[in-house]
Amino acid sequence: MEFPDDVYYTTEHEWLRLEDDGLVVVGITDYAQEQLGDIVFIQLPDLSDVVLSKDEQLAEIESVKTVSEVYSPISGKVVKVNNDLADGPEVLNEDPYGYGWLVHMEPSDDDPTAGLMSADEYRDLVSEGG
């Protein structure tokens, strides 16, 4: 299982990556995709209503017989969604930290990574049983 060092982790098994332009990329972790099993569909936010508070529903991820909600790890505005997932939901299983990203957000807080975990901390959490 992968735990890259260049992202921050949440207890809800999401990751955040800070980009140079101040935007934040959000996705789900390798552990999360493994738990979900074969992912078949990802419902991403509609770009017409895009301002979310922390913990508001950001996306829905469906496997064959379950639906899981993804909550926004930060407050902010969604500026881009990964439309490629519509035609290839399997990318989320195959490359959760790369091509399987979900959205780009413009954070409304100064320090969007406050309180999030490092790779080592997250690895410990997962090995304790999530």
Binding site: D38, V40, F41, S63, V64, K65, P89, E90
Partner: protein
């Protein structure tokens, strides 16, 4: 497969036939009285087949199915009992099938008399005051029932906002409540699989419109606190909706109305023997207390001077939930079943269904984990906990197919992990129950000795394990020539 021959996949009708063939002989219609701009160019994509080709195609498809007539279907909560053949004969009588729903009422008194008798029998079995036969299925009965709950509360001043639903409930319950604008509040189920009156009281307040409860519940256990629970709900002004999916356990034993249920649907395709048809049509009659009668779907049958008629002018009714009066052809079948069984026969049905479930419970409890000990009603729930070799419920289900048995209901109820829900019904002879138990035990042994075999099941079915992920990722819901492979 027929006579043991594997013919390979059956092509779709869209790949069969040949231009110029037709399975209907029709007179020439003559010149069309409609302007060409109103008409479609063609029915491109439709097949062209002769009558024997069509018959052969569907008979071959039929041979790819398991069915309750040919195989034991121990599907929990589905009540796959024997569907008497005479029922189909009755439903096919010319006077019934050729009667029009808008026929002048004096021409269809036979239909109405039959429906009246069926209503009366269901009133007696349910212990409630009135029955509507209109809902087309259990889920539609539920929808109508919760609409009635809401209408009643509106008349009391406010609709209220919440419906309580035990965690063990069918998914339809919360879906129906949500369709009626209610928030669903989940009542936890105890370790014994039962809903306690205290657990319900925890959530009771004047925003609770009612409780939806299934009894016996989806673990096959009778809810012994039902009387106390219904009294508590009534105390805060709420109503009790009982899901009658499991009525096969109650006929002649207990009546929902006597237990405090205000609204009940029954599934004629479960308890009352009408065929499942691979998904329908079913029927979901709705029974209610006297005070709720005025809300039942319109039209209602009324009797004046010995003549039966439909009354549409029902100002308090929630309105109709489907066109006409219900799935008449299904109602006729249920009538024939009840007529054949009579009160004593139906009571015996329940008693034998309960005995058969308990027999399987005892025969399997050595090899399969029983999450709730002790006697059950008409169905019994095991788990895959005792299975070795990493064999899961799904693997067991698929392996049973190889033994010639349909799988039980699996992964339901959700409150039990890896659930295996078995409902033998009253229809299966002792030998079949034993063969099934032997197969279950043999698979538990295979899991110990050769788990790989169990996990790769089914091996003897018309197709091997199907790729559901592929189907869901790239849905192909209609046949297209360019995509066929």
């Amino acid at each position: 497969m027929s006579a043991g021959v594997d013919r390979g996949p059956e092509k779709t009708v869209f790949e069969k036939g040949s231009p110029g063939r037709c399975g209907l002989d029709l007179p020439e219609p003559g010149p069309l009285p409609l302007d060409a701009k109103l008409l479609r160019a063609d029915l491109e994509g439709f097949p062209e087949m002769s009558e024997p080709e069509v018959l052969r195609h569907y008979l071959r498809l039929s041979q790819l199915n398991y069915s309750a007539a040919a195989d034991f279907y121990p599907l929990g909560s589905c009540t796959m009992k024997y569907n008497p053949v005479v029922n189909d004969k009755v439903a096919g009588l010319e006077g019934f099938v050729a009667s029009h729903p808008y026929a002048p009422i004096e021409l269809v008194q036979g239909n109405l008399r039959l429906l009246r008798e069926l209503e009366e029998w269901l009133v007696e079995i349910s212990g409630l005051a009135s029955v509507s036969l209109q809902p087309a299925a259990g889920a539609q009965g539920e929808l109508a029932g919760i609409k009635i709950m809401r209408a009643w509360h509106e008349d009391q001043g406010k609709p209220r906002s919440k419906v309580l639903i035990p965690a063990s409930a069918h998914g339809t319950n919360p879906a129906s409540a949500a369709l009626c604008g209610y928030d669903c509040v989940v009542v936890p189920v105890g370790d014994d699989g039962l809903v306690s009156a205290d657990a319900v009281r925890e959530f009771l307040d004047d925003e609770v419109a009612g409780l939806m409860i299934t009894n016996p519940n989806t673990l096959g256990l009778f809810e012994p606190a039902m009387g106390e629970i219904t009294a508590a709900v009534h105390e805060v002004g709420g109503l009790v909706y009982m899901d009658g999916a499991n009525m096969n356990a109650l006929m002649g034993v207990a009546r929902p109305g006597d237990m405090g249920a205000d609204i009940l649907h029954v599934n004629l395709h479960k308890t009352f023997s009408t065929p499942h048809g691979g998904g329908g049509p079913g029927a979901g009659p709705l029974a209610v207390t006297e005070q709720l009668e005025k809300y039942l779907p319109s039209p209602r049958m009324v009797e004046k001077d010995g003549k039966l008629d439909w009354e549409y002018d029902r100002p308090d009714s929630i309105g109709p939930v489907r066109s006409f009066y219900g799935n008449f052809g299904i109602l006729v079948r249920a009538w024939a079943y009840m007529k054949a069984c009579g009160g004593d026969g139906l009571t015996e049905v329940t008693r034998m269904a309960v005995l058969a479930a308990n027999y399987l419970r005892v025969r399997l409890e050595q090899d399969y984990d029983l999450p709730c000990d002790g006697p059950c009603m008409h169905e019994v729930v095991f788990t895959d906990k005792k299975l070795e070799g990493g064999v899961k419920t799904l693997d067991l289900a698929k392996r049973l197919l190889d033994y010639g048995f349909h799988a039980p209901t699996i992964y339901f109820p959700l409150v039990v992990q890896g659930a295996i829900m078995i409902e033998p019904t009253e229809s299966e002879p002792l030998e079949t129950l034993d063969e099934f138990a032997d197969a279950m035990i043999a698979i538990a042994r295979e899991a110990r000795e050769d788990p790989g075999k169990v996990k790769s099941a089914p091996l003897n079915t018309p197709v091997a394990r199907l790729d559901e992920t592929r189907a869901a990722r790239h849905p192909r819901l209609v046949w297209k020539a360019e995509e066929s492979a």
